[in-house]
Amino acid sequence: MTKIAPRQAYGEELVRLGQENPDIVVLDADVAKASMTYLFKEKFPERFFDLGISESDIVGTGAGFAVAGKIPFINAYANFLLGNGWEQIHISVAYANQNVKIVGHNIGASSGKDGPTHLPFEDIALMRVLPGIMIVEPADAIEMRKAVRAAAQHQGPIYLRVGRLPVPLVTCEEDPFELGKARILREGQDVTIIATGAMVAKGLEAAEELASLGISAEVINLHTIKPLDEETLLRSVQKTGAVVTAEEHTILGGMGSAVAELLVEEFPVPLQRVGVKDRFAVCAPYDELHNILGLTAKAITQSVQRVIRKNRQ
């Protein structure tokens, strides 16, 4: 399967958008080489601003650009941007409803070997509690391009989660993409696997394995984590009666929590969340870290078996 790094697609699409729309400006916090915004910088140096290692300042500066009518994309490592800049995002972006595109890089296990100081597994939770901010994590590079474009067109704040390492292509150029609209990638009857980002490929892999065990799994690519596409999710779960969520994030307050909150209120069914289980990571390469943290197709398969067992009891 072809693999492309989401950040590569992000950086390239930003350049294309820059060509089309002179109002787009890009801000970075001294990680332009990692975020790939250096591509934009090379092409449009006058519209690129390196704010240095100042994650609180970059959020406010982005908000100021938005006040003056520009469309700022602000970039930094997700943990530092959302950690240091949370209160600025809270007031100057969310409460002020400014059209700022917040782009968190190196998400999840992206820089596995750097260890816990560099591994954002809490960013979705940090953004979910802020009213009015859309949260988007594309499943692959193709979808990333569409998401960046849609983010630029969307009027309002948005948080885009961008991974560093290549992930398999699981969507096609022709697939429609709409912010806020979940996509069913594989239809099934027995269980709904709801995945986001790099975990979508693993959800599909698990579904394949489950099919050989006689279990028919529906796989949903939930690229927009907020607002939740309640309609698509409920329709699927009403059909299957069991759910497994999968995300490269802590299970506390993330996508799985959002789905669980919805289902507990609207249609309670057995549910398991695959994600980081309230622990810090360790220093390990990406794939190894995914194995250590249980972010695997196997973990999804086992969780599916558990929810199905619960339904039979």
Partner: protein, 275 residues
């Protein structure tokens, strides 16, 4: 009216007197707010809104407007008084301050109030915003300017110093910061809580053009804004020495009036002093 009004100094002083009365009546009626830090900022906001800012009360989102960000958002009543005097809304509306569905919430909100471009109340954020707006103006080739008012206590926030570097690095001569240097904060005197040391020296060391003035002297204030505008390739900060609670004898230089609403009797005395 888009250009500043060019009021004379006696007219400005009359506006400042009215603004102080508005502030006291607003906080009295709302039984809350921060009169001390409003009254120290009044003369600065008076000159800024009457004679300096190019804004259009009929069209608050006019795309060539100058920007003002009240980073010390707790002085919202002073900002509302200035916006009212500039014609953004009628005087009666001032007295809806802090009411549930009012357009004039306790702290500034750009979603609610005509003429307010950014939410504030969480100290430390305004200079970054001004930098962003100023950079955008430069990019557009526009002569728009961005003004921001900071409290002296607010300068404890690290983000301000990040932003000071940004302003200087990009040579944003269209940014003018104003420090309301009243030497008091919430818990006490700045020098007791955490001293700022050589404040002008610190801004200078960050490559800012520093103008130090008496923040209650209207001609000095007006001159400082003009000087700031004349300096090229360097941002300016007006360090305005002020008195917290200025204009009301029993509030002046009193920490206790940081956040306290005047009672009926106190209001009466205060208004008498500001007749």
């Amino acid at each position: 009216m888009i250009q500043g009004k060019s009021l004379s100094h006696s007219e400005l002083s009359e506006v400042a007197r009215r603004m102080r009365r508005h502030i006291l009546k607003m906080t009295h009626k709302a039984k809350g707010g921060h009169p001390g830090g409003c009254l120290s900022a009044t003369d600065l906001l008076d000159v800024l809104y009457m004679n300096v800012l190019r804004v259009d009360p009929q069209n608050p989102h006019w795309d060539k407007r100058d920007f003002f960000f009240l980073s010390k958002g707790h002085a919202a009543p002073a900002l509302y008084a200035a916006l009212c005097e500039r014609g953004f809304f009628p005087e009666e509306e001032l007295f809806t301050f802090r009411e549930a569905e009012s357009r004039l919430p306790a702290y500034p909100s750009c979603e609610s109030t005509p003429g307010v471009d950014m939410a504030s109340g969480s100290l430390g954020q305004g200079l970054s915003i001004a930098n962003g707006a100023a950079l955008a103006a430069k990019l557009k080739g526009s002569d728009q300017r961005a003004y921001v008012m900071l409290g002296d206590g607010e300068l404890h926030e690290g983000q301000v110093w990040e932003a000071m570097l940004t302003t200087a690095h990009y040579h944003l001569d269209n940014v003018c910061a104003i420090v309301d240097y009243n030497k008091l904060q919430l818990d006490g005197r700045l020098d007791e809580v955490k001293s700022l040391g050589d404040l002008p020296g610190k801004w200078r060391a960050f490559d800012w053009n520093v103008l130090e003035i008496d923040g209650h002297d209207l001609p000095q204030i007006e001159k400082a804004f003009a000087q700031a505008q004349a300096v090229k390739l360097q941002p300016s900060v007006i360090i305005a020495h002020t008195i917290k609670g200025k204009g009301v004898s029993f509030m002046e230089d009193q920490v206790d009036w940081h956040a306290a609403a005047p009672s009926d009797a106190e209001l009466k005395i205060a208004l008498e002093e500001l007749k």
